[in-house]
Amino acid sequence: MRRLLRISAALTLLALALMVWSVLRPTPLPVMLAMSLGQAVGTSAFAMFGLAILFDLRRSRRIRRESLSLPPLRELLAPPERGPPEGPP
């Protein structure tokens, strides 16, 4: 998940660089790249960010659910119950 976010951040920088290039140098190649590749890369980066946040939410929900289904701490810490005393052989 953190790797997904790092890739998303790196792709965002790439998309921003393409867009800034097209604004500062509005000639056919930069403008075409920004409007096609830049858009695609930027959209992919945002989708990855959304996916990473979704994974994180699901993970935190799962952890919370598991913590709720655990037996109370008192029961976990209590000594194990002893069985009936063994009789003579």
């Binding site: 790092r6 951040a9 800034v20 509005p26 920004a34 930027g42 945002f46 960010f49 994180d56």
Partner: protein, 210 residues
Amino acid sequence: MPHDPFAWAALAGAALSAPIVIWYLVRRPPLVRGTKIALLLGIGVFPILTAGTGNIAGYEATKTRRFCGSCHVMTPYARDSEDVASPSLSSRHSRNAAFGAENCYACHADYGMFGTVTTKIGGMRHVYEYLTHFRDLSVAEALPRIHLIRPFPNGNCTRCHSTEVPGWQQIGDHAGLVDELRDSAVSCVGGGCHGPAHPFSKVGREEAAP
């Protein structure tokens, strides 16, 4: 530097977004609520601002003469348009404030409901032609080969010159050919009438033709 406010908005969005993204990449903070909000701004909100305004700025830039003249084979056309002393049709139109720096687009664009789309598709074809046929040619080699894919439509002229005003109709050639002019059967920019719009490009063309 750009003069378009959309261009400035795109740069501002990028300037706000980049530090957040770089901070995340360098510092690698834990993914707590604050980090998520910062990343939402850095990867979502500000880049969307940059993309939206940058697209408008890019679209507006494609309409300028500077953009058209940025391919080397188009430089004589752009230079002639900018020359206030030139008597050519393109130069005279560029001196009109309604056309100004967008005079290439104003005359060569398609109009109507899908005009913008068809103009942009035509522009993509120009890029293809440039990359495949004209990129390695000198201007002198390219000029005899540059041509319109179809005859220039009179509708692009009559969009402004309506053909309805008395002054236009009083001219004998106009009055005699009004139907042909409106149907584009006779071109406004034909040799004997108002054109060619880029006369320098026609010099020697007859000799070059097979």
